[in-house]
């Protein structure tokens, strides 16, 4: 019962932080483009408005899958938020192998958008879903290689012990292999969040909204909220693995988070969209190469 309560609390907290982060993203984008930008409550109004709208299930869609796919994505990202927050607030409560659980649950939201896209019966949504699938195949390999670097450096698959190792020996990002793995993880985060240059799955200018095209009302709100929560959870995950976690206090933790989010937004605003074949070549070529170099360096003790 307490676990369920903590799960709900962590999900709501991640949702609120995610909505605030998305405001920060839009405001920073606006300032980069030399305009004023949306007011602070704008993401909250967007979310509220979508909750109040009608839900349309297309006649061609597979009804059950179409409705439940976004909810599964939302629930899984909540699990990741709960595991990370429990570790941050109550150190020493993590369990062996929670890193593996987090990797699996982080793969769920993109999988949910693929299932929802295919279930909606729209050709543009199918195109978006197939692109998203290729993108997952591309970025999961270097992402997991980057995580393996952290496992080799610390010798454990428990998030709590990775954080306490970093508290004792300095954060992983300060070593050469850790810095390379962090860079790889950062690029994979950009793709996992579906931001430019890796937003070909929902490219507004060519396939409208891609996988989201048939969704309306509360289901669209669930999909958007999943994206915003991923925007909170992914930087927190990288901070926990490579940058010493949140054990050093609120202010340094918040600073690390803001730096990572700002970098994501800057990359998003200064790059054009890649084609899907370019993205796959990029991830399987240079990014995987850097990740393997990081693993070799970690074995050699750098």
């Amino acid at each position: 019962m307490t676990a369920l309560l903590f799960y709900v609390q962590a999900s709501v907290a991640a949702a609120i932080i995610g909505l605030i982060t998305s405001w920060y993203d839009r405001k920073l984008t606006a300032r980069i483009q030399w305009r004023v930008g949306p007011p602070f409550l704008q993401p909250f109004f967007d979310f509220l408005k979508l909750l109040g709208k009608e839900t349309i299930v297309p006649a061609a869609a597979s009804r059950t899958t179409f409705i439940f796919a976004p909810l599964f994505g939302l629930a899984s990202v909540g699990v990741v938020a709960a595991i990370l927050m429990k570790q941050a607030f109550y150190p020493g409560t993590s369990f062996v192998g929670d890193l593996i659980v987090v990797i699996y649950f982080l793969a769920m939201p993109p999988a949910a958008t693929i299932i929802g896209g295919f279930a909606s019966g729209n050709p543009l949504a199918s195109t978006g879903a197939s692109r998203e699938m290729k993108l997952i195949l591309a970025y999961e390999l270097p992402f997991i290689l980057a995580i393996i670097t952290a496992i080799i450096k610390t010798g454990t698959i428990e998030i709590g012990q990775i954080v306490s190792f970093q508290a004792a020996n300095g954060s992983l990002a300060l070593s050469l292999s850790g810095a390379l793995a962090l860079a790889v993880g950062f690029i994979c985060m950009q793709a996992k969040l579906g931001f430019v240059p890796f937003d070909m799955a929902e490219a507004e200018t060519e396939i409208m909204a891609g996988t989201f095209i048939e969704y309306s009302g509360p289901l669209l709100a669930a999909l958007k909220l999943t994206k915003f929560m991923m925007f909170t959870v992914m930087p927190c995950f990288l901070i926990t693995l490579f940058m010493g976690g949140f054990s050093s206090g609120i202010i340094p933790g918040l600073l690390k988070y803001i730096v990572l989010v700002t970098l994501v937004v800057l990359v998003k605003n200064t790059n054009p969209r890649l084609r899907i074949d370019q993205a796959v070549r990029f991830f399987w070529g240079p990014v995987t190469g850097i990740a393997i170099a990081a693993i070799v360096l970690a074995f050699c003790g750098y």
């Binding site: 949306p38 007011p39 109004f45 967007d46 509220l48 408005k49 109040g52 507004e204 969704y215």
Partner: protein, 142 residues
Amino acid sequence: MNWKLYSLLKSPWVFHLSTGSCNNCDIEILDFLTPRYDAERFGIQLVGSPRHADILLVTGAMNRKAAPLAKKIYNQMAKPCLVIAFGACGCTQGIFEGSYAVAGTVDSEIPVDLYIPGCPPRPEAIIAGIARLISSIKEKKE
């Protein structure tokens, strides 16, 4: 005023539909979304799918090919939603009045909430029109 309508007026997402316009209105709409006029201040966003949209922005004199499609797209939108007839042709058929190719005005096909006249209307006119629409809905509800 209930929370549904209040949040809708705070974040109107726009779907832009051309029913046979000369493209001049469409270019003014793109101008309206540029950083100079910064529509995002009011939460206005251009979306690619009518399922996401709250405002259907219709330009052009409704020609015979476009009329059934306009009706279909209006039915595809999630309610509650608003419709804006844009430009002289959207409001009154403009110079195409009496043409054999034109089916009617926008409001003879779908219910219209706001008319923005002009050939083409300036971006300032769009902002003023949407602001007036929001305030009139607020007054009506109070």
